[in-house]
């Protein structure tokens, strides 16, 4: 009988290593291809895999082979009309059909080697070399969180920590130890009693004495408590300090009327990119989404990217909200704070000054990094002017302009480059 084995459950990704080796080897080319693929294209669907192509000559594995030339005599099937001695025109290279089928293998086609990167791999290449600047700040690494760690058992504690198994085991042991003596005597006494009963009269004094002893032994045994406060054991836990860094990212987006659909779209793409980057790179990172027109509101991820209400522009409203949220929920002693703001640069004239003051006095002292992108192809407006002053005053503030969707990725990379010396 044949051996029939079901292999479907084991070893699903046997080629994963080979695949990884392949990606590793062609890292440079793939990265280039990824950048090419992303540039100027819709980034909203970036969260899926990507077709990547690299030049086939880079991945070829050379072996000795024949080139065309010399004499080839090849046998083919399906002769319809040819007679011996017929002359045929030499077919065009790559024309298929008749002609020498074998010689074509040496022609180095210029076709690219195309393959699909998984989402995971794609984003890996995509976000490679990027990081949040200044993430680990000294006073923040010093803040400690505590973790409860098991540390055996103790004889006192709160009732909720009683370890039942352990306590009962102790009780059992104690009962065995304490009953051992009386129990042995009791058994002896019983045997003696049985013997006497066979030999003696019913009213023999020795009989009564034995009965009395048995009685007292039994009460002694019963008197031993089933469980005693002495038996109780409590699970013991100790607190271990654990260094802890946490970060929060504020995404601030202008959704006022002057931001037309295209600009909003660009801003959203930038934030989607940022969001993907954050969720990928940092397991524990809080993201706060704030959108504003004349008023600012904190929204969830879905509303941030999809809701579509609109109005005038008061940028400071958003900054105030940021300030307020930080004050309420993210004390600087515990959190690394990052802010990314996108706007088209439109603002109430007088409001830009307020923004500058807010930034310089309240917000920037608290944050690690503040990135501002302006989506416009026009002249810089007053907000940009004021922000330039902020930039000159404060080194963790960075600002860039985005003119077309094609700029998004380069600007993004620029803002979050690894090891940049404070931009």
């Amino acid at each position: 009988m044949a051996h029939l084995i079901d292999r479907r459950l084991n070893g699903k990704n046997k080629s994963a290593i080979n695949r990884e080796r392949f990606l590793r080897r062609f890292k440079g080319q793939i990265k280039e291809a990824v950048t090419r693929a992303v540039k100027g294209r819709s980034i909203t669907d970036i969260d899926s895999g990507e077709n990547v192509s690299i030049p086939v000559k880079d991945v070829s594995e050379p072996v000795f082979g024949h080139a065309r030339g010399g004499v080839w005599e090849t046998v083919h099937p399906g002769n319809k009309e040819y007679q011996k001695g017929d002359q045929i025109d030499r077919p065009e290279e790559g024309g298929g059909g008749s002609g020498s089928g074998k010689a074509s293998q040496d022609g180095e086609g210029e076709d690219d080697f195309v393959f699909q990167l998984s989402r995971e791999e794609f984003l890996n290449f995509f976000f490679e070399d990027l990081e949040l600047p200044n993430l680990v700040k000294t006073q923040l690494t010093a803040t400690q969180a505590f973790k409860q760690v098991r540390a055996g058992y103790s004889t006192d504690g709160t009732p909720s920590n009683i370890d039942v198994m352990r306590s009962l085991k102790g009780a059992l042991g104690r009962r065995i130890a304490l009953t051992a003596g009386p129990m042995a005597r009791l058994n002896e006494a019983r045997e003696e009693l049985d013997e006497l009963l066979e030999k003696c009269e019913e009213d023999d004094p020795r009989l009564n004495a034995l009965r009395a002893e048995i009685h007292s032994l039994k009460t002694r045994i019963i008197g031993i408590p089933f469980i005693d406060p002495f038996d109780l054991r409590y699970s013991n836990r100790v607190r271990q300090p654990r260094p802890h860094t946490q970060a929060v990212m504020f995404c601030v987006m202008d959704v006022s009327g002057s931001m037309d659909e295209q600009k909003k779209d660009t801003a959203k793409r930038f934030f989607i990119l940022l969001y993907l980057f954050l969720t990928r790179a940092y397991e524990k990172i809080e993201v706060v989404f704030i959108r504003h027109h004349t008023q600012a509101q904190e929204v969830n991820e879905h509303d941030f990217f999809h809701a579509r209400d609109t109005g005038g522009t008061v940028v400071s409203s958003a900054l105030k909200l940021v300030d307020q949220v930080i004050g309420e929920r993210f004390p600087t002693s515990d959190w690394n704070i990052y802010i990314a703001q996108a706007s088209d640069g439109d603002n109430w004239d007088s409001d830009s000054l307020v923004c500058k003051d807010l930034l310089l006095k309240n917000i920037l002292p608290m944050v690690q990094y503040y990135a501002y992108i302006e989506i416009t192809d026009g002249e810089p407006q007053n907000l940009w002017m004021e922000y330039e002053k902020v930039r000159d005053a404060c080194k963790q503030f960075a600002m860039r302009k985005i003119q077309s969707p094609a700029d998004i990725y380069p600007v993004f990379r620029d803002l979050f480059k690894k090891n940049t010396a404070n931009v």
């Binding site: 046997k14 080629s15 590793r24 030339g69 083919h76 099937p77 011996k84 002359q87 045929i88 020498s100």
Partner: protein, 519 residues
Amino acid sequence: MSDLIISPSSAKRKRAKKTTGPLSIGSEWTFELIDRYYKEISRVAGEFQLDTYPNQLEIITAEQMMDAYASVGMPVMYHHWSYGKHFLSTERGYKRGQMGLAYEIVINSNPCISYLMEENSITMQALVIAHAAFGHNSFFKGNYLFRSWTDASAIIDYLVFARQYIRQCEERHGVDTVEELLDSCHALMNYGVDRYKRPPKLSVAEEQAKQADREAYLQSQVNDLWRTLPRRAEEAEKTEAARFPPEPQENLLYFIEKYAPLLEPWQRELVRIVRKVAQYFYPQRQTQVMNEGWATFWHYTIMNRLYDEGLITDGAIMEFLHSHTNVVYQPPVSSRWYSGINPYALGFAMYSDIRRICEHPTEEDRRWFPDLAGTEWRPALEFAMKNFKDESFIAQYLSPKLIRDFRLFAVRDDDHEAKLEVSVIHNEDGYREIRRKLADQYNLGNREPNIQVWEVNTRGDRSLTLRHIQHNRRPLANTVHEVLKHISRLWGFSVKLESCDGEGRVILTYDCKMEKRHG
């Protein structure tokens, strides 16, 4: 060419209904069902006296099939980026629906491992069992190339060893170093095989060789002491004449493994591993037509027998014939799907034809195959399977009828002429010619450039000289430059390749200079 797919026996097929009904009605498979099919197929195969290794059938998913595919079918192949590349392109083709996956992969091991894909219907599973577990399996066990070159019971263990060894090397010497070396070895894989098995040397010769070795060794010790002394002129001349290697060597990887001056022991072991793997696959490359034809012939014969016995339903046999016809379809040269001769079609047609010649010979067959016509078909077929490779098989058995059926013709492409010329067609004058030409086409020696180790400059720069002997004035492809780089990486010094014409005159030289190493 429909006559290719209906064997002579099918014309007079009668359904000899047995009392038992068909094995299954629907198309779903279960383990129990596969078991029953296997038993029946095994019984039929036994009646046809197919001699096989024990079978191991493994159910796998499509993705696992691609995995297996990518690592040249071996379940425990070592890791290399090129298998990743292979996987990626297979996966892409499959997902786009450009190509189907192979129905089966079978491994020449003992027990013989065949993969069944879970997507297959029960009819397809039966086809695969007949094709792989009995067809290929018996071919692996019977054919002389496999018998003399591969050790079916040891291959899996050897590959496990190889994979572990390579993994250790990667840990010790770095993934990149190992990868580079493997790249270079892979470039020479086709030149890492022994083509002929020579009889073991006579014991006296062996003894003499050993003695000579000892002498040489002692001499080398002495030489070393006196190395710096000036030699007499005539003596120097004499030693210069001694060339190394004394005879040209065709197994480049073996030569490198044994004589490359700078390789570390672990590197020699890697070269050896690649060489062993190449040698293991060498018989498969030489018996494509025979092997696939044999397996196809048997799945066809066995499935038809099952149908005759009433074990397979009409629907199932239709499904089977549909797949079978696709497999053995030979597009004509004018078709846009034409890409050379389909080995399944040719092989299947040839085995079927041998059976026809034995059972129903025509007058022509009696003239062409006097030893074959009218004899028992089964021993004749067995002999044809066991003692040939593609080249000799075609030279021996391609009959005029098949040449007519396939309408074979030969085209001569001479780059000195302006036009191609039809040199032979399927007529009385052409049969032998066509048969010889087609056989030549399957001669690996003609398909691959003939390149051998010619000389090593042992006294000077230690450069290695290879020699390419042109066949029909065919030049080398451009890849030669890259391959030479690989060789010089292995050899450690400069490598030169001389291209010779038929008379042995060097007409072209390729050079790969190696910078002097420092430190």
